[in-house]
Symmetry: C2
């Protein structure tokens, strides 16, 4: 590089006019093709028998210039964003926060990033979130649905966005899901109280109509029935 006093943007060939370090700007200055740089930076140097010298040159300059590959360009070209959309009713709920933490950690391992959306227990926001995530070309969506409507989810799934439900699911709807063993848990809890001799056992419901609530109520009822305790309503 020249050292006489041209203005900075003239001498610094490693950057384009927008002051970005890109594969092309490096290629121009280094005198190698963008193809080569791309290959080296993707660890394909050996495979394409690029000389050790070039590999060394490319990696060190990329490092020195603090080069950051443009994932957006990459995503457009590859038609794959390496991104997962996560739609949660409310991240403030520790249960959902724990899900988010676990999902983000696992995603990171595979170099995936998480787009976080809170549906705020509002079906309209949930629908908008899905549209938004699809616009971002996410590779898939993990969603803890509000829980009472599923057509939009089926539609999204059919349109080609891989979708997996978490926490809540829809009976009779063919969508993959992962959820807790609510029925068994409720059954066990109720049985536990019964074993201690209790007869009048109340059951607080969650959101009526959602799968976890259904399962839990069913477990509760099942336990009462098994022990021949009549089901009564407090009102």
């Amino acid at each position: 590089m020249t050292t006489h006093s041209l203005p900075f943007y003239k001498t610094d060939h490693f950057r384009n006019e927008k002051n970005n370090v890109t594969i092309q700007s490096m290629a121009k200055t280094l005198g190698v093709s963008v193809t080569t740089i791309s290959r080296v930076l993707n660890g394909l140097g050996e495979q394409f028998r690029i000389s050790k010298k070039t590999i060394e040159l490319v990696t060190t300059t990329a490092d020195k210039l603090n080069y950051r590959p443009n994932n957006i360009a990459k995503g457009l070209r590859l038609k794959k964003s390496s991104t997962i959309g996560l739609i949660l009713p409310d991240i403030t709920n520790t249960w959902f926060a724990q899900l988010a933490l676990g999902i983000e950690k696992e995603a990171r391992k595979h170099h995936y990033n998480i787009f976080l959306c809170n549906s705020n227990d509002d079906i309209k926001v949930e629908k908008k979130s899905i549209a938004l995530l699809q616009s971002w070309m996410v590779d898939g969506i993990i969603i803890a649905p509000i829980g009472l409507e599923s057509e939009h989810l089926q539609k999204a799934s059919k349109s080609g966005t891989p979708l997996v439900l978490i926490d809540r699911f829809f009976e009779g709807v063919n969508l993959p899901y992962i959820s807790s063993n609510d029925f068994e848990g409720s059954l066990e809890a109720t049985q536990y109280l019964i074993n201690y001799g209790h007869k009048k056992i109340a059951c607080f419901q969650g959101i009526v109509g959602t799968s976890p609530n259904n399962q839990r109520v069913n477990g509760y009822k099942q336990a009462l029935k098994k022990n021949k305790i009549p089901l009564t309503r407090p009102w």
Copy 2:
């Protein structure tokens, strides 16, 4: 569109060979230019005096076909991702979760999406997260830093990524931040106890060296001093 029995991908001119609805595929079938479609879909129809008929045609087909603009392509072209990176030590902590919720809600209003990263209170993860977010061309980063090291943050900021600290900050480091009034709060809390006649007041510290902890300890000390209560250590 033809109705005789060609295979689906042949008749459906609204989609490209990859089965995606894009501006170009619609343009081809509708017989208008991609320019026009882009304008209409961006609400610039009136401005460019595009005929009502065309506007109507474009919007309804886009709607019918469930067209989703490709934000990745848009981002590449505009060099603006409409995306904000959020780095939090641990989303499972309700305090951070509440921050995340508020940030996401506000971002959504402005059609921004949030990339969530948990640094897991690990400086290495924090650094990696920043690099990752820069690769995603985020328009800015909001970070609740681990809190003991700041060079990498200054570097990121200097390299052109807008950065704002939340919760914790670094004294003497010129980085914008938003944090709680820890000093005042601690001072008030301590004074409150003193007002009730207490003399032996303990102070549990958080993470030593972080700004919130420093501020709180200082508030505590200040209150003791003001009331001439000697500062003692329990050991």
